[in-house]
Homo-oligomer: 341 residues x 2
């Protein structure tokens, strides 16, 4: 039989309250007494029943998700996933709140973070912007004992407890590997489309992509990076321009969002002259585009996994518990038209 607090108390010759104090590192226990209890715990191989503890404490985890008010499909999905988590929250002893902030606006993000801090939640998840003032705000949250998880886009590792997202540098390298192999001519011209180089995920994808291309496919030429703020209309316009200036374009790597605009342009091209296209995030539109051979590969991160992982991680961090790294690793999905889920 698994030992319980009762067993510990009996073995150590103390009361339940004292066992509890030692177990939870609360003050007001003499050194000798503490030692006796710790002996008992070690001897009996006690492991505490978190569910019972939470029941006794009526523990609920107050969590807050700060999300950009971006209207691309990916962010919409992400928000929906948080809403699903809210729907499940009764069962999970969590109270989850969503705060929206303007996209790509460090100042707004910082204000939101500071406001959230006042409510003293147990944990905060945010789609980060990698700017000094954001890191400082994250540091303030953590200084108050609030767990911080970055979602999708990271800041420096020292300013958060956990990053719920993919290895974006690996994603960029993978895109380059596929691009290099899928291109029919070894000396093609490739355009790169980003949202904003203010966010770390886009910057890391870009660097990864460029480095593998330079190393393994040195004859491929790369056009200057286009920043289109993940906005479908702006993406459409800039891609149209690029194709006008470079009718011989043989590849496009779209490393941000707003692919609806890109796809509109691709549809108009002569199928025989379509460039190889690699994009990110499986949405209704990229899925259709994969299916109809407008896009060749989609690299994806699963927003459902990211949100569920964020909830688990913030709860664990709030309790000072370790995180199962293998379980929480978010993978880079590669979708071709043949393995669409």
């Amino acid at each position: 039989m698994k030992p319980t607090v009762h067993d510990i108390a009996r073995f150590a010759g103390v009361s339940l309250a004292t066992v509890d104090r030692v177990l939870n590192g609360r003050p007001g226990v003499r050194g000798v007494t503490r030692d006796k209890v710790e002996q008992a715990i070690a001897q009996l191989g006690y492991v505490r029943d978190l569910a019972a503890a939470n029941l006794a404490k009526s523990r609920t985890y107050n969590l807050c998700f700060i999300l950009p008010a971006n209207d691309n499909s990916f962010m919409i999905r992400l928000r929906e996933e948080v809403e699903e988590a809210i729907a499940r929250s009764a069962v999970e002893r969590a109270r989850i709140e969503i705060v929206e902030v303007p996209a790509f606006d460090p100042g707004a993000l910082v204000s939101a973070m500071d406001e959230v801090a006042d409510r003293k939640p147990d944990g905060v998840a945010l789609v980060a912007i990698d700017a000094p003032e954001v890191r400082a705000a994250a540091d303030r949250l953590r200084a108050e004992g609030i767990a911080v998880a970055t979602l999708v886009s990271d800041v420096g590792a020292s300013s958060r407890d956990h990053f719920c997202g993919i290895d974006n540098s690996a994603a960029g390298r993978t895109a380059a590997n596929l691009m290099g192999r899928f291109l029919s001519k070894v000396d093609g011209r490739v355009a790169i489309l980003a949202g904003s180089l203010l966010v770390r995920d886009h910057r890391e994808r870009l660097e990864g992509f460029l480095s593998v291309l330079a190393e393994d496919f040195p004859r491929v030429a790369i056009l200057p990076v286009i920043e289109a703020l993940d906005d479908p209309a702006m993406v459409e316009k800039t891609v149209r321009d690029a194709l006008r200036r470079h009718p011989d374009l043989s590849g496009i790597y779209s490393l941000g969002a707003g692919n609806r605009g890109l796809i509109r342009v691709l549809k108009e091209l002569d199928p025989a002259r379509r460039p190889v296209v690699i994009a990110h995030e499986l949405t209704r539109s990229t899925r259709e585009a994969l299916h109809s051979d407008l896009i060749d590969a989609v690299l994806n991160q699963d927003p459902g996994h990211e949100v569920r992982s964020a909830v688990r991680v913030l709860k664990a961090k709030a309790d000072g518990l370790p995180v199962l790294t293998a379980q929480e690793r978010i993978r880079i999905d590669i979708f071709l038209k043949d393995n669409l889920p």
Copy 2:
């Protein structure tokens, strides 16, 4: 405040015991009384606290994993993951047992299943062989109220509660898509290496691979399928033979296990004449081979995910609870050397 059984009892004017009877569909409650309680439940929006219920019941889930005594790296990893689940089992209110059976042996599998049934576990996970007698044994388990999950390789959907594994047909199609695009000549010759066509996962991969190749890359020639029982030594020998007979081989799709043998042969080839190689399962050896350009792509299923998912699913099924399909879907990982985890 979330309503509890006490609130229901008060509202319905009955005792806790009666509320519990209704909640758990136990007999011995008059229709009128039952109605009153059900009214209260609906009115107050009661949702039961599973953790508290399990605590009160001292519920533990008895689960059994039936695994083939195969010595390829994948099966070894799978077993290790089950052992990790056993290590965590105290926390998860589970008692997990491993039963080993000879590989690719339907009779042995059936005996093991019947033996396990005698112990009346709550759930059984097994790496299935898709044979009528195995399906019948699974049906017997389920008839006794034991939840059945297939792991890695499936049987017909009607004979199990859940399949914890990838869509193997999609995996085969994806392999063909990559193979077709990676081959430098459109009329290459491709060899296919399987473990055994007795198991459904191998059969489905094969079919998927052949269908896409036929449809999208019709000029690629395919050699007769080699069955090497996932045994490294046998794989080595058969690949060596194939290369002797077809020195112009331009691609190899290894859809089973035992890739250590394949890699030994690849190492000996003149790098300039190495075929495009696509294999399954990321192990120490396939990882190294990817890294050193002996293998071009590895399709993978994460045994850790599969085992954790099996545990969650079997517990849910044992309680008659629904399964979160999106969460439990096992994805096909595609690894190139650039996105190795």
